[in-house]
């Protein structure tokens, strides 16, 4: 209506949130011996929803879409990594890493043109991924958001959704290795540095 665009946060798909809202409180101190086979819910159900919708001054609509389906074009990812200033890694390795990750969460920006015949422009603006053994441990790697979209809470959304998905699957050891400049960012998300003396150690190849 006014000169500046309006921001609307859209309602998420009903069914998905309803199922989460019921919540899970595990409180068993007794051993339950299950005779029935465990449910075969292997991979997290991929979800996609519109996070933010903005109407721009020229009438175009920009949507920021969150997806956990892991549909990432490796070339897009490479250019996003370039934008944030990360060193280049071989494309084949990036592709393999994405394929074998437990969860890949992405943020895409879709710009719908004001003209009726104008097409949509889709670009990757954020990504985060986690590897896991599906039972106890998970490690979050490679959290990145396009610099021109930073400061809006998008990185927070990415990480929070991954944490939520992991906790839903009862995966309790969620670890990550943060560079010094992002330690505060993760602290605000509920991460604790070196809890109870736990540290990560890395292998050093001896040449």
């Amino acid at each position: 209506m006014g000169v500046f665009g309006s921001i609307r946060v859209l309602r998420l798909r009903a069914g998905f949130w309803e199922s989460i809202k019921s919540g899970l409180l595990k409180d068993d101190t007794t051993q339950v011996i299950e005779t029935s086979p465990e449910p075969q819910v292997e991979e997290p159900l991929p979800e996609e929803f519109v996070l933010i919708e903005k109407t721009q001054p020229d009438g175009a609509i920009e949507q920021i879409i969150f997806s956990s389906g892991g549909d990432v074009d490796v070339y897009d990812l490479q250019s996003l990594c370039d934008k944030v200033g990360w060193p280049r890694r071989p494309l084949s390795k990036l592709a393999a890493a994405l394929k074998n990750s437990y969860m890949v969460a992405t943020l895409h920006s879709i710009r719908k043109s004001p003209e009726p015949e104008g097409g949509d422009q889709k670009k990757l603006i954020g990504m985060a991924r986690a590897t896991s053994d599906h039972a106890f441990n998970a490690t979050i790697w490679d959290v990145l958001v396009d610099p021109s979209y930073q400061g809006q809470g998008l990185g927070k959304t990415l990480v929070e959704n991954i944490i939520r998905a992991l906790l839903q699957r009862d995966i309790g050891n969620i670890t990550l290795f943060a560079d010094s400049q992002v330690v505060e960012f993760y602290r605000n998300l509920g991460f604790e540095p070196d809890p109870e003396g736990i540290k990560g150690m890395f292998w050093y190849p001896k040449f």
Binding site: V9, L10, R11, I20, K21, S22, G23, L24, Q31, E34, E38, K93, L94, A95, A96, A97, L98, K99, N100, R129, T131, S132, D133, H134, A135, F136, N137, T139, W141, T157, N161, I163, R164, L167, G172, N173, I174, T175, F177, D179, S180, V183, R187, L189, G190, F191, E192, P193, D194, P195, E196, G197, I198, K199, G200, M201, F202, W203, Y204, P205
Partner: protein, 288 residues
Amino acid sequence: MEVAVVGGSTRQILGSYRGKCMELRWERRNIRSKAKGEKEKRVSVKNKKEKVPIYISTNPSHINSEELRDLCSACNHSCHRFPKYLDCDTDVVEAVDIHKLRTALSHSSLVVSVFCKPTDVLLYTTKSSSEINTTSNKNIQIQIQGLGLGLGLKDLFQQLMPVTPFNAQLVGFGRAVSDFGLTASIYDVMVIPSLRGMGIGRMILKRLVRMLASRDIYDIAAVCSEKERMFFKACGFGDDILGSTTMMYSRKVSTYDEGDQLVIRAGQKLLLAPALKETSASLKAKNS
């Protein structure tokens, strides 16, 4: 006893890496007899090297999940980073959930398991738990010989049989989870207490690292507690060269939290999941 190395060329489950995935090894054990404080009872330190046959395998099908759970208990190892203790004044952790263990095993990229003959395990359990001085050492020697003589033909035959995963006890384990592209994480490396200090743990770690390196993965992380740090350091692990900080999710339930929450128990911690975002529709409903 001449035993050929049993090496089958088996297709590894993930990828087409053809290689030995089972082999027989011998570990050396240093047996030193410590002299007692008093001068009168001082004796020369004996460096008796003994070889223990062990079987190291990277084949996941050699692992029995119940045996692994028992190994975890024997090592007092919990797969949770902050384990729940059985009692408030004990440091014995609660047993590992077998279903989760099976899931974890099936989704681990690499596993290494070490087997040893039950008789050998028993032998070293007796040795390590006894007092170490000359007189008792002699007693042990006699005991061992006695064991040998006292055994029947069947047992002697058993002793001569090479150790395989099917007739032996699981004594060591380690696993790694990787994306087979960039990174890998090592979890749950353990060796039963009586066979520690022999290099088995180091062997497990070396094997994991070697397998990862052969797939071009050099970014290998291991999250470890204070106690485990020395072990990893001795095996060539160190602090991150890029100086990153290890962080773990630890947001807990507090009395101020209200409404629907997703809370899960991980060992002794009750973790609270990030809240769902309020939508503009529900906010309006609240305010009206």
